[in-house]
Each structure stands twice: as structure tokens, then as C-alpha cells.
Amino acid sequence: MILLLIVAVAGWFATDYLGNKARQEIIGESRTSVLTLSIYVSTTLNRIEDAVKSLAGSPWIAPALLSNGERDIEHANSVLDRYSSAFASITYLMDADGMTVASSNRRDPDSFVGKSYSFRPYFQEAAKGQPGRYFALGITSGKRGFYASYPVQNHLGKVIGVVTIKKDIDEIETFFSKYPFCFLISPDGIIFLSSTPAMATKSLWPLDKSVRETLIASRQFGNQLSEAVIKNEIADGAEVALEERDYFISREVIDSDGWSIVLLTPTDRISLYRLIGILATISVGFLIMVFSGIIYAADRSREVIRQSEESKRLLLQAAGDGIFGVDTMGQITLLTQKS
């Protein structure tokens, strides 16, 4: 009984240890994965930002804004085409009012030329002389894109226009596909990219009414926002239940605006490791009980035989005559005191 109690206590500690070990493994793997994803995504975007900065410095860009002549616009378009081709993107040049004067998609039916994007934050940031970055659904295309903008300055340093690269970032989603739930979310929790395509542009947690109205008015994620996927805002290192499974949350912020990569890692392994601990404890306990049973049965048999022989001996001792037993070889095997 004491041995069983020791096994039960040791099993409890072993099960706890295995559960913690599984948790530490999950945390370690999850942190490594979210950092790998975050570096991949942020350097993908940083590459576009580097390119737009280079594009703004091209000697063929500013003249198109200064003269607005056909030849200068043509030169600007040829530079925009080169960057568009190198970065598989749409590149366009807006004047100081936000009107597009040259664009790599100028020959397409949904050309940006002649359209104003002065309401877009990426234009407003660059018009103030700062690099701009923005994630949004395209107003014309409806596709998810990353917009990197940079001011174009004259020789006095005055901003005379803004050059922008719009990169379709659906391809990043393929990098997420090996995880059950992996998202790129906005600071407000809108899922922009998702390993589960049906969740894209839903909010990950419920939004305040004012935030919702502001987002819809900005058209950043279209004209409407779907219901929230989970009940509360998530935090790095917490756990969450989704579609009847529990997940460990890793969240890594990838830019100064607060966009982040969220990775949900299933915690099933913790239960599995604990189950192994419980089963091992039960097995050891069962084996101890079986061996105890065998030892008890053997002791009991020996006692029965001993008692049987004792009673036989007493019976023979009680006889009036001497008794002796002889085996087939003539050897004496039994001798009472009276013989």
C-alpha cells in the first residue's frame, strides 16, 4: 500500500513535469516560428520601402512633375516600368495634389492615371516629407496590397510629388499556409493576411464602435467588416480556444505602426504528454499490484502446505503405535516418536 502511494506521488510529479516540458517545447517552437515569419514579412516590406526610396531619387522622376511635359512623363513612365517589373508591382507618380500623372499600369483598363489618391494616408505622409507605408484593399482592384511611398523633392528640398509602389502581398500568405492559424493583423486586430483564407479582413477580436466606424470610413479594408473571430483581444504568451481546440499565442510586432504577426500553436501535445504520464503511473501501479498478488499467493500456498504437514504430523504423533514410512527404494521417510 505504501509502495502504491509512493508510485502515485511520483507519477503526479512526473505527469506535471511532462506537461511543463511539452509547454516549454511549444513555447520555444512557437517563438522561433513567429520570429522567422516576422523577419520574412518585415524584410519583404522593407525591400519595397528601399526600392521606393531609390525610385524617388531617380533623375527621371522629378522633371515629370516640374515640367509636366510629354517627354518627361514618358521618361518617368519608363523608370516606373523598370521598378514595376523588378518588384512585380504597380508603381505610380502623383503630383503635390495627389493626382496620378504617370503609372506603370497606364495602359490597363484600371489605370491609375488621372485618379487622385490624396485621401490615402500613404500620400499624406509622403506629402509631408516622410516615407509612408500602408496596408489596404485597392480602391480600384479590391486586392490586398502594401503601399510604400516616398516624397519627390525639387532642388530646394520642397516636396513636389509622391512616388508609390503598390505590391500585391497575397504571395506572403503562401508562407503562412503550413500553420493552422497564422495572421498578419492591423493594430486594431483586422486580419489582413491569413493561413485560413476565409478569415481574411475579419476582425480577430471585437472592435469598439468608433474604431469600426473609422475603419469603414477610411475604406482601408473595404466598405464593411465581418464579425470577430474570437471574443477578446489576444496577447503574446496567452492561450485561446478556437474551433474547439486550445492554442498558445505568439504575437510579434513587425513595424512602428503596430502591425503584427500572430501565430496560434495547438497545445494538444501538453495533454498528450500528461496522458503518457498518467498511463505510465497506472501501468507501474498495476504491475506492482500484480507482483504483490503473486507474492501473496505464493506465501499463502506455502502456509497451507506447512499447516497441512503440521496437522498430518500431529495426527501421526497421536497414534498409539509407532509408524514409519518407507519409499519404493526401502528408504525411511517418516518415523514417529513411538516407533
Partner: protein, 122 residues
């Protein structure tokens, strides 16, 4: 412990690379521009330098040239997304000017870790 100096003007990228290398057991220092990078190099004498090539102020190419003058054997890794001529030109230039390895963005971290391990062993 091997010390790595990371020079990147995007603070979030510098911070994430720092976390990754620290998890692998490296000692990491981060600079956010070329001038700060050179100052830290002189103060700390790191074993490996990883630098972005497009930086405000002192460019990554210039940093590589200065580092090479300081120490011909220092392992230097350049990384970039693009350049003024075409996306690969800066990377080719960086390698020809003395970078031991160059990486085009986006960065695949396993590849970067492997090259750092290789350079450390050389």
C-alpha cells in the same frame, strides 16, 4: 561568446534579428545607422558584422569598405532589398567590395543563421 554587430535602420528588424541570434546563443549589439555602427565596431570589436546596405547617412557599401580596411579578416554579411540601379546591383557591389556573403530581402532566417555559423567556424 561570439559577438555580432547588426546595423539596420529599421528598428523592428534589428530587434527581431537580435532576438533570433540571442536565442542561438550569440551576444548581439544593434546600431540603427552607419555612424553608430562604426562607433560600436571600434568600441566592441565584434566577431561578425551584419549590415543593411541602404541606410540613412553612411551607406552600407561605405561601411563594408571601412570595415575591410580596419580588419581584412572580419566576417561581413550585407543584406539589401534594392539599389539605385536595379535590385541586385547593390548586392553584387557589396560582395565585390569585400562582404563575405550577401542576402537579398526578404531574409530567410535559417539561411542567415547557417552562413553566420559557417563564417564563425572559418
Amino acid at each position: 561568446m561570439t559577438q555580432i554587430l547588426i546595423i539596420d535602420d529599421e528598428p523592428v528588424i534589428g530587434s527581431m534579428l537580435k532576438k533570433v541570434f540571442e536565442r542561438e546563443g550569440y551576444n548581439v549589439i544593434v546600431a540603427s545607422n552607419g555612424e553608430e555602427g562604426m562607433k560600436l565596431y571600434k568600441e566592441k570589436q565584434p566577431d561578425i558584422v551584419i549590415t543593411d546596405l541602404i541606410l540613412p547617412g553612411k551607406e552600407g557599401i561605405q561601411i563594408i569598405m571601412e570595415l575591410r580596411k580596419e580588419d581584412p579578416n572580419l566576417p561581413i554579411i550585407g543584406m539589401s532589398g534594392g539599389g539605385y540601379i536595379d535590385p541586385d546591383s547593390y548586392l553584387h557591389l557589396a560582395k565585390s567590395l569585400g562582404a563575405n556573403a550577401v542576402f537579398a530581402k526578404p531574409i530567410k532566417i535559417e539561411e542567415l543563421l547557417n552562413i553566420v555559423k559557417t563564417l564563425k567556424l572559418e
